[in-house]
């Protein structure tokens, strides 16, 4: 319970520091570049089979029902609404978050963070804020990448391998999905980026007990972020269905 309270105080501190000058633009750009470099490739590689699996699962079922023209709709719906944010969450937590946590943990045990505080610089403003903002930005962009690559993967499997009709696939995009789906996916991704970075930085900055402590912190950060992100995903999806009217209902 104590840790949860401390984490929330830390979050408050970090969010307040977001609006404090001077902004660490360079650190932000470095971190955004770094997080994207470790996450784009895994995100793309995970989303292709994800789109493909959905296409395969639906393909035969839909054909039996005679509803081939709706495969595109189902694929878009699944990828944009769920797969996109989930894949983004996995990659941001697993690749970006763990790297951030390890970096800050190493700085913590080398007393770099203490040295920074003694030199009159707040590590939350200097190190945490740029990482949190960079992680949010990259998560939003990554969600876009995952959506496009996932839908393209679905298209490839449906049209090229299963002999579906290209025109029907593309035309049905709008049948079930709608613009708010994409917006909600992006909002989810942004929240995931925020939470993953906050958890990673908090645990990294509180690592203790030498190199082993850093390893433990990274491990905890990945596990905790996964659990948090899946729970958050459920809550946000539930809210989304309450707030936005669905097509065909």
């Amino acid at each position: 319970m104590r840790t949860v309270g401390e984490f929330l105080i830390f979050c408050g501190h970090a969010i307040r520091a977001c609006f404090k000058r001077p902004w660490q633009i360079r650190e932000f750009i470095d971190q955004a570049w770094f997080i994207s470099s470790v996450s784009i490739a895994p995100a793309a590689l995970v989303s292709i089979p994800f789109g493909a699996v959905i296409a395969l699962q639906l393909g035969s079922l839909v054909r039996q029902l005679g509803a081939q023209s709706f495969t595109g709709a189902a694929s878009v719906l699944a990828v944009v609404r769920e797969a996109g944010p989930i894949v983004t969450a996995l990659v941001i937590a697993g690749a970006g978050g763990s790297a951030i946590c390890a970096d800050l943990g190493a700085r913590k045990i080398r007393e770099e963070l203490d040295a920074m505080r003694v030199l009159g610089i707040d590590p939350i403003q200097r190190l945490v804020v740029p990482r949190v903002v960079a992680s949010m930005l990259v998560a939003v962009l990554l969600n876009g990448v995952v959506s496009v690559v996932g839908v393209a993967g679905g298209y490839f499997f449906n049209v090229v391998l299963q002999g579906g009709t290209p025109g029907a696939y593309l035309a049905s995009f709008q049948a079930l999905g709608q613009l708010p789906d994409l917006v909600s996916g992006e909002i989810k991704a942004m929240v995931f980026g925020l939470v993953a970075a906050l958890v990673a930085t908090y645990l990294g900055m509180n690592a203790k007990g030498g190199p082993k402590g850093v390893g433990d912190a990274v491990n905890q950060s990945v596990v905790i972020t996964f659990m948090l992100l899946f729970a958050l995903n459920f809550i946000m999806t539930a809210i989304y269905f309450q707030v936005i009217p669905q097509k065909g209902s």
């Binding site: 700085r107 080398r110 770099e112 203490d114 003694v118 707040d122």
Partner: protein, 326 residues
Amino acid sequence: MKFFCNTTGGSPDYTGMGVEVRVNGLTKSFGQTPVWSEVSLTLPAGEISVLLGPSGTGKSVFLKTLVGLLPPDRGEIWIEDRDLTKLKERELYEVRKLFGVLFQDGALFGSMNIYDNVAFPLREHTKLKESQIKEIVSEKLDMVGLIGAETKLPGEISGGMRKRAGLARALVLNPQIVLFDEPDSGLDPVRTAYLNQLIVDLNQQLDATILIVTHDINTARTVPDNIGLIYHGHLAMFGPREMLLSSEEPVVRQFLNAQRIGPIGMTEEKDADELAAEAAAGVDLPPLPAIPLQLRPSNGQPRRAERAPGEWCRANGIVPPWGSFQ
């Protein structure tokens, strides 16, 4: 020597007097484990003090509490007219500009080379031009003997060099209080001797208040004006160097002379049985060794806080051990 005091916060100009630090009833514990309690001492302005203690007595914790990195459970830390323990985060960052701290491994920023590490505080807190920064950084690197290593990364140099680079960084804003966390750990005796000389010279040039946390008794015997000893969760004694070096108090005597006989055991304190056995065996404490002369600045000029050898002993009617101050 030039002083630049362009700190953005408009802090007072460098006065060259050092700052007194008064600690009152300080108590610290981690959860249920007490570290030390009711520590009260005054680090006199412009003097060198050493805080000694067996391993694991929380000396480094004390040092970190002193700069507000760890909050104490109780007690006050007065620096000028401000109580550090009651300050808000923002005010704390302001007060910390008075401090320079040398951490155990130098605590250099791993992603920056030596030059950028030393220049870091200047770039963050002053509006100096790069040419002026270069001048100050070179001066400080020269002081610690690291000219030529500017472009090296902290991972590429030895522990002793990291320490000296950390010292250069700690000194770059001309701190009024300099804290050393085990400056001698991991250094060979020759390098330790150089570093000790550097500390004395620094005190002479900057008049900064200096606190050294260590368990090296050679450093403790020759460098400081004052010695403190933390033992068994409290401050056993704090006072002028000659007072502790001539003290008959068992703990102080045992530690400052590195003897096995006395209340300090291998793990923590010895229990009553062991002490009784020691006494029954008729073990006599060896005589106090002579008090060595204090280390003097290398240029031969006196420090402001320097006192004549034996002055304290004469003033207090203590006869120092035979052969002292020679």
